[in-house]
């Protein structure tokens, strides 16, 4: 019988109130401002990620969606430890990882691998495919014999359809889809448990996207991988994600199971986003029109970040930030209008 008394396993990844601000590069002159009768130094900042809290449980694929500049890549880089948060905590398997030195993080590097949009940027152009794939294995297993390194790499190459005859060729000799395949193989050679993928399909053609997405699905099932999957493509989210976080101006406006989100989107922004996806159906769908365009994350709206474009915005929305509220179906929604029942 199952032992129900053990403490629940902590989520594999947890973000608690994570913030990331970037200082804007400005000359001294640009930063001097005359305000309240005095000359002051203005420190302008980009508020890329604002108070983001989320969890990813083992075996899940959490998709992060949103439009250009909403902070998706910044979230990915915060999780991967490539950026330090300005505030808040990043926890991995229960332990804080945001305040550790690079050396302390080394063992974690193996468990967590990152895949980028542009595989060309992540593959060293002067290394052969074999060198690129063997390097991380050797780095993380310094005691492994060369034959075993080669065997490990061969096994992964075969698993993800990287032809062993590619071994001695260089990245520029491959197409975008083949390179992404190689990048995935490289991530898998060290047997990670968690993959952070930042727009891994965005640079690929439809027929190649399908190949790469299948590869990632296969790896998920066969290796029990957990994913943080960043994308702006909602059809990919619907297919691949188990849960979805919708990001707007660095803030999570809705977090829900994938099926729930697509069946019953609640936040006015999520609704607009879903309605705007071009469909392969007759005629123009009646998409929800938003006023204006996404404001810059330099001067954030005081209240709800979506307030400037939202059809439901009222005085409260303009002054008070909505907090994520649990809905009856389990999703989290940060919207005053939803809370007040003003959105049907």
């Amino acid at each position: 019988m199952k032992d129900t008394m053990t403490a629940p396993e902590p989520p594999l990844l947890e973000l608690r109130g994570v913030e990331k601000r970037f200082a804007l590069d400005q000359s001294l002159l640009e930063r001097l401002r005359f305000r309240d009768g005095r000359l002051r130094m203005d420190r302008r900042e980009v508020h890329a990620v604002n108070n983001v809290s989320l969890t990813v449980n083992r075996g899940e694929a959490l998709c992060v969606v949103g439009e250009t500049g909403c902070g998706k890549s910044t979230v990915a880089r915060l999780v991967a430890g490539l950026l330090a948060p300005s505030a808040g905590e990043v926890r991995y398997a229960g332990a804080r990882i945001d305040n550790q030195s690079r050396r302390d993080l080394a063992p974690l590097r193996r468990r967590m691998q990152m895949i980028f949009q542009n595989p060309y940027a992540s593959l060293n152009p002067r290394m052969t495919i074999a060198q690129a794939l063997e390097e991380p294995v050797r780095y993380h297993n310094p005691d492994l014999a060369p034959v075993d390194v080669r065997a490990k790499v061969l096994e992964v190459m075969q698993a993800v359809g990287v032809d062993p005859s590619w071994r001695d060729r260089y990245p520029h000799e491959f197409s975008g889809g083949q390179r992404q395949r190689i990048a995935i193989a490289r991530a898998l050679t060290v047997d990670p448990e968690f993959i952070i993928a930042d727009e891994p399909l965005a640079a690929l053609d439809v027929s190649i996207q399908a190949q790469v997405l299948n590869l990632m699905l296969e790896a998920k099932v066969a290796r029990g991988l957990t994913y943080l999957f960043i994308t702006h493509d909602l059809s990919v989210v619907q297919h691949f994600g188990t849960r979805v976080a919708v990001l707007y101006l660095g803030t999570v406006c809705e977090l829900a199971d994938t099926a729930t989100l697509f069946a019953a989107p609640k936040h006015p922004y999520t609704r607009a986003l879903l309605s705007a996806v071009p469909q392969m159906r007759d005629g123009m769908p009646d998409h929800i029109r938003l006023k204006g365009e996404i404001p810059t994350p330099i001067t954030l709206p005081k209240g709800c970040p979506f307030e400037t474009r939202c059809a439901y915005a009222d005085q409260r929305c303009r002054v008070e930030k909505p907090r994520p509220q649990q809905q009856r179906d389990g999703s989290l929604v940060a919207c005053h209008a939803v809370e007040e029942g003003r959105v049907d």
Binding site: V206, A210, Q211, L213, V236, Q279, H287
Partner: protein, 330 residues
């Protein structure tokens, strides 16, 4: 009569070591006010087709053979002076990156007024009036202010709207739009697509829309060309092509979309990738990836033929149709 009639258009690139063919004998027609989509994957030859129609191919690319009848004249034979009149005045082009068209050191107003005055005898004031009208047509807020702004002061979505306004400045007969919304967010893309559709319908402007997004084509166009490795492999009504694709490549392209498979299931992928121009296989260029390929397919290039309401270049489709005809004849 068609506004545009392209016959056997062949485009080549003279490379150092060899000459490669980027477009193979493309033929299609466009009626006045008709909206045509060109779809296909990266490198299929979509943009090259657009450039060739404007006679804007730059070396080493050139039109090798074929004709492009535009409103009765074969523009492959037109001198550059005449082409300059046609471009802008009768055919306008909209690119994915608005900065290809916009001059960063001139204000929006200066650029619009200059374009107008280059083609029409107009006072500065009248030109400005027309520019304002066009900006209002593309629903730009505070158009007077925009005229005084520089391109970098505007957002991506606003720039693309301005490009559409500039394309409409001289009331062209045809707009060629190459991935006009690809760089935009979906909420902005939806607005721009709607705008483009409305303007084309209202002004009876023809549209050639180049994109890799079948959703975009489905919503904006009446007819579609599917391109593969520099050839048209299927052409027909957009609805028919989306709902009942005949060419195995078109079928594969549609079936590979995530929406076509239940969540979490393996997608129906097409194996392999489109060949590069220097390495086109003999016979049907799709044969190495095609599940229906027979020996004939690997040897003989299929000609594009009328099959029902679409035109298709595929031996398998031909086989199917002749079998059907045989049965009907029995």
């Amino acid at each position: 009569m068609s506004l545009l009639s392209v016959r056997d258009l062949t485009v080549k690139f003279a490379m150092r070591s060899q000459t490669v063919t980027a477009l193979h004998q493309i033929s299609f027609d466009l009626a006045r006010g008709e909206r045509l989509g060109i779809v296909g994957e990266s490198g299929a030859g979509k943009s090259i087709t657009g450039f060739a129609l404007m006679k804007l191919l730059s070396a080493p690319g050139y039109i090798d053979s074929g004709t492009i009848q535009f409103d009765g004249t074969d523009i492959t034979q037109a001198p550059e002076a005449q082409m300059r009149q046609i471009r802008g005045n009768r055919i306008a082009m909209v690119f994915q990156d608005p900065m290809v068209t916009l001059n960063p050191v001139l204000t929006i107003g200066q650029q619009m007024v200059e374009t107008l005055r280059a083609h029409r005898k107009l006072s500065r004031r009248d030109a400005q009036e027309i520019a304002l009208t066009k900006l209002r047509e593309v629903q730009i807020a505070a158009p007077e202010l925009r005229l005084k702004q520089y391109p970098h002061e505007l957002s991506g979505g606003m720039r693309q709207r301005i490009i559409i306004a500039m394309a409409l400045l001289l009331d062209p007969d045809l707009i060629i739009a190459d991935e006009p919304t690809t760089a935009l967010d979906v909420t902005i893309q939806a607005d721009i697509m709607e705008l483009l559709l409305k303007l084309c319908q209202a002004n009876k402007v023809g549209l050639i829309l180049i994109t890799h997004d079948l959703g975009v084509v489905s919503q904006l166009t009446e007819r579609t060309l599917v391109m593969y490795a520099g050839r048209i492999v299927e052409a027909g009504k957009t609805r028919e092509i989306i709902n009942d694709p005949q060419h195995p490549y078109t079928q594969g392209l549609i079936n590979a979309l995530p929406q076509q498979t239940l969540p979490g299931q393996m997608l129906k992928q097409i194996p392999g990738a489109m060949p590069v121009l220097t390495d086109i296989p003999p016979g049907c260029p799709f044969s190495p990836r095609c599940a229906f390929a027979l020996a004939e397919c690997r040897r003989l290039l299929p000609q594009i033929m009328q099959q029902g309401s679409s035109e298709v270049a595929c031996h398998e489709v031909n086989r199917l149709h002749s079998d059907l005809l045989l049965e009907e004849g029995r």
